[in-house]
C-alpha cells in the first residue's frame, strides 16, 4: 500500500471549485441576485403582515387540515413566539423554508418523474441522491460562499441540496407504485404520455409525493437553522449568536421557537395527503 502515491482528492476538489468559480461566477451571481430579491422580498412581506392576522390564519388552516388540537397548539405557540419577541426572526426562517421547499418541488417532482420513467436517469440520479443525503452539510456549506456570497441565497441553495432527495425519491416511488392494471387502463384507452401522467400517475402518487414534501419541509427547517453559520439570520441566527456569546437562555428560547414551528408545519403538511 505504501508505494501507491496518495490520491490528492482535496487538491482536485479545490481545483475544480476554483475553475468553477472563475468560469461560472457570473452565472451564479446572476442567479444569486434573482434569488436574493425573491427571498428577501418574501421575508419582508411576511414581516409586514400583522402578527395577529398570521396567527389567526395559521390556526384556522391548522383547524381545517389537522383538527382542533393542532389549531389550539398553533394559536398558543405562535402567540408565545410573538411574546418572546422572536416574531421577525421566525418569519425570516419561514420565508427561507418556503423558498427552499418551493424550489425543491419545482425541481424535485420533475426529476422524480424522470427517474420513475427512465431507467438510465434512475441509475444516474440515485447515487447522486445518496451522496447528497450522506455528505455532511458543513462540507458544502462553505464552498457555496464563493458562488453565491454570504446570506440567504447560499443558505437556501444548500438547504435545497439537503432537502430535495426525499421529494425525488418519493415522487419516483409514488409513480412506480401505481398498480400495473391502472397503467394498462390508461394505455389501453389511448392516453398520451402526459395524459397518463396528469390523469393517472400523479393523482395516484399524490399522497406519497406529499409525504416527500412533508419530509422536505422538516429537513429544510433544520438546514435553514444550520445555514445561519453563513449569515442566513432568522431563528438560526439567534441560536448562532447565542452560542458565540454563551447566552444559554437566548439559545433555548430560539430553540423552542424552532420546535414550535416544526410541529405546526409537520402536523399541517402531514394531513395534506389525507384530505379528499
Amino acid at each position: 500500500m505504501n508505494n501507491i502515491p496518495r490520491i490528492p482528492l482535496a487538491k482536485w476538489t479545490d481545483m475544480a471549485i476554483d475553475w468553477l468559480t472563475v468560469n461560472y461566477q457570473n452565472t451564479t451571481q446572476a442567479i444569486s441576485d434573482v434569488l436574493k430579491g425573491a427571498i428577501v422580498g418574501l421575508q419582508d412581506f411576511l414581516i409586514s403582515i400583522p402578527p395577529e392576522l398570521v396567527i389567526i390564519v395559521v390556526a384556522l388552516i391548522a383547524w381545517w387540515l389537522a383538527g382542533k388540537r393542532i389549531a389550539l397548539f398553533s394559536l398558543v405557540g405562535l402567540a408565545f413566539i410573538y411574546n418572546i419577541q422572536l416574531w421577525n426572526e421566525t418569519m425570516q426562517t419561514i420565508a427561507m423554508v418556503i423558498a427552499a421547499v418551493s424550489l425543491c418541488i419545482i425541481i424535485g417532482v420533475p426529476l422524480g418523474i424522470l427517474t420513475a420513467k427512465n431507467m438510465t436517469a434512475h441509475r444516474i440520479i440515485t447515487p447522486i441522491l445518496d451522496f447528497m443525503q450522506t455528505l455532511p452539510a458543513f462540507v458544502y456549506l462553505l464552498p457555496a460562499i464563493p458562488f453565491f456570497g454570504l446570506g440567504v441565497v447560499p443558505a437556501v441553495i444548500t438547504t435545497l441540496i439537503f432537502a430535495m432527495p426525499p421529494i425525488i425519491r418519493l415522487t419516483d416511488l409514488g409513480i412506480k407504485q401505481v398498480p400495473e392494471e391502472l397503467v394498462e387502463l390508461g394505455k389501453s384507452f389511448g392516453s398520451t404520455f402526459f395524459q397518463m401522467l396528469f390523469k393517472i400517475e400523479l393523482p395516484l402518487a399524490r399522497p406519497t409525493i406529499l409525504a416527500g414534501i412533508n419530509q422536505c419541509i422538516m429537513l429544510s427547517l433544520s438546514m435553514v437553522v444550520i445555514a445561519a453559520m453563513i449569515g442566513a439570520k432568522g431563528l438560526g441566527g439567534v441560536v448562532w449568536t447565542a452560542i458565540q456569546n454563551l447566552k444559554m437562555g437566548m439559545g433555548f428560547e430560539a430553540g423552542v421557537a424552532i420546535v414550535i414551528i416544526a410541529i405546526i408545519l409537520d402536523r399541517i403538511t402531514q394531513n395534506l395527503g389525507k384530505t379528499n
Binding site: 398498480p179 392494471e181 391502472l182 394498462e184 387502463l185 394505455k187 389501453s188 384507452f189 389511448g190 392516453s191 398520451t192 395524459q195 390523469k199 393517472i200 393523482p203 395516484l204 399524490r206 379528499n276
Partner: protein, 398 residues
C-alpha cells in the same frame, strides 16, 4: 366478416430474444428455451381469427399465456413475432399516434381487478376514455350516463369506487369500455374476482348486452363453465400455445388432447350439452298409414315399447304404445288413427340438457328432438344422455 386476425404471434419475455425465437421456430419446448436462454416464452405461434360480432373465449390454466395474448392484440405488449390485423390493418406496423387513435376509438378493455381510478367518481371513471379523446364535458357526461344506465347503475354517478361492491365495480368497468362505443371488447378474466352467484349474474348480463350491441368480444377465463356460456368459439391454451379452437361442443365432445379432456372433465356437462349433441338417430319410425301390426313388428325388432309416428315430410305426429297397437291389431284395425298419442315430450336441437333432465327422469317415452318445422331430428334416450354427461360419445342405437 373477419374483424380480427391473429397470425402466428409469439411473445418472448426477456432482453435477448433472438436465440429463443430461433428455438421456438425449431419447435423446442419452453422449458428448454428457458434453461438455455433465460427467456420466458409467453405465447408461441398463436393464430386465430374472429368474426365481427363473435364472442371468442380464450381459456387455459394460470400461466398459459392468455393475458399475454390478449395484450398483444391492443399492443400493450409488442409481440416478438407475428401480426395482428384489425379490419385488415396490421397493428404491429402502425405508428404510435395511430395506435393511440385505434385504442381510443376501436378497442375497449375490461380488467380482472376492475382497474377503477379511486380518486374519480363513477361517472368520471366511465368517462375516462372519452376524456382522453378530448370530448367536451357535456357530451362526455351524457354518453357516460348512457353507458352506466346500460349496466344498471343509474343513480350511482357521483359515488366513488370504494362505495360499490365488486360486482358493481365491474359493471362500471364494462360501462367504461362501452362508453367509447368500440368495435372490440377485450376482457381479461373480468368475472374471476367475483363471487360465484354474482358472477353468473354478470355473465347473463354480458350476454344481454351482447344481444343488443353485437360487439366483437375477446374474453379470457380459466373457467370452462364460463367459457361455454359466453363463447361462440373457444380457444384453449396450454404452455403458451393454442391447443384447440372450436365451438363449445367440439371442445367438450372431441377434446383434441388429454390436456383438453382433463380440463373438460370437471365441467357441469348438463349445462354445456344440448339435446342435439346427445340425441340418437330416429331409425324406427312409423307412418300413419302403417297398420298396428307393422308398428308392433318394428317395436319388436328394436326391442322398444313405443314408437314415434311421423308424416311423409318427417314431421312428428305422436307415438304409439305397444299395448295399444296390440289391442288395435286384435280388433283388426288397419290404421294407426285413434291410437296415436300426442303427449310427446319434445325438445329443440339447442335446448340445454340441464332443462331436460327433469323430463327425462319421469317420461316413459323417449324425448323427441325436433326443429321449427316439427321435423323429427333425433331421439333422446336415457342411455345416450347419461353417456353424454359422462363425457363419452358413441353411436348409440336405440
Amino acid at each position: 366478416m373477419e374483424k380480427l386476425k391473429v397470425s402466428n404471434v409469439t411473445k418472448i419475455y426477456g432482453n435477448n430474444t433472438d436465440k429463443a425465437m430461433e428455438m421456438v421456430l425449431k419447435g423446442e419446448d419452453n422449458e428448454q428455451i428457458r434453461a438455455k436462454t433465460k427467456q420466458v416464452v409467453g405465447v408461441r405461434e398463436a393464430s386465430f381469427s374472429v368474426e365481427e360480432g363473435e364472442s371468442f373465449v380464450i381459456m387455459g390454466l394460470s400461466g398459459s399465456g392468455k393475458s399475454t395474448l390478449l395484450r398483444c392484440i391492443n399492443q400493450l405488449i409488442k409481440p416478438t413475432a407475428g401480426h395482428i390485423y384489425l379490419d385488415g390493418q396490421d397493428l404491429t406496423k402502425v405508428s404510435s399516434q395511430e395506435l393511440i387513435e385505434i385504442r381510443r376509438k376501436r378497442m375497449g378493455m375490461v380488467f380482472q381487478r376492475f382497474a377503477l381510478l379511486p380518486n374519480r367518481t363513477i361517472l368520471e371513471n366511465v368517462g375516462y376514455g372519452l376524456e382522453v379523446q378530448g370530448i367536451a364535458r357535456k357530451v362526455r357526461t351524457e354518453q357516460a350516463k348512457k353507458a352506466l344506465h346500460m349496466v344498471g347503475l343509474k343513480g350511482w354517478e357521483d359515488y366513488y369506487p370504494h362505495n360499490l361492491s365488486g360486482g358493481m365495480q365491474q359493471r362500471v368497468g364494462i360501462a367504461r369500455a362501452l362508453a367509447t362505443n368500440p368495435d372490440i371488447l377485450l376482457m381479461d378474466e373480468p368475472f374471476s374476482a367475483l363471487d360465484p352467484l354474482i358472477r353468473q349474474d354478470m355473465q347473463d348480463e354480458l350476454l344481454e348486452i351482447q344481444k343488443k350491441l353485437h360487439k366483437t368480444i375477446i374474453f379470457i377465463t380459466h373457467d370452462l363453465d364460463e367459457a361455454l356460456k359466453i363463447g361462440d368459439r373457444i380457444a384453449l391454451m396450454k404452455d403458451a400455445r393454442i391447443v384447440q379452437i372450436g365451438e363449445p361442443e367440439d371442445i367438450l365432445l372431441s377434446p383434441a388432447s388429454d390436456y383438453v379432456a382433463r380440463f373438460v372433465e370437471n365441467v357441469n356437462r348438463s349445462k354445456a350439452l344440448t339435446a342435439s349433441s346427445v340425441m340418437v338417430k330416429p331409425r324406427s319410425v312409423v307412418y300413419p298409414k302403417d297398420g298396428p301390426r307393422a308398428a308392433l313388428r318394428i317395436m319388436e325388432v328394436h326391442g322398444i315399447s313405443s314408437v314415434f309416428v311421423v308424416d311423409r315430410k318427417g314431421a312428428l305426429i305422436g307415438y304409439v304404445r305397444a299395448e295399444d297397437a296390440a289391442e288395435a291389431a286384435e280388433k283388426g284395425q288397419r290404421e294407426l288413427d285413434g291410437i296415436i298419442q300426442n303427449d310427446v315430450p319434445t325438445a329443440f336441437d339447442d335446448t340445454p340438457l340441464s332443462e331436460l333432465l327433469d323430463v327425462l327422469a319421469y317420461t316413459k317415452v323417449p324425448v323427441a328432438v325436433i326443429d321449427e318445422e316439427k321435423i323429427l331430428k333425433g331421439v333422446l334416450v336415457r342411455g345416450s344422455v347419461i353417456a353424454g354427461l359422462a363425457g363419452e360419445r358413441r353411436d348409440w342405437d336405440e
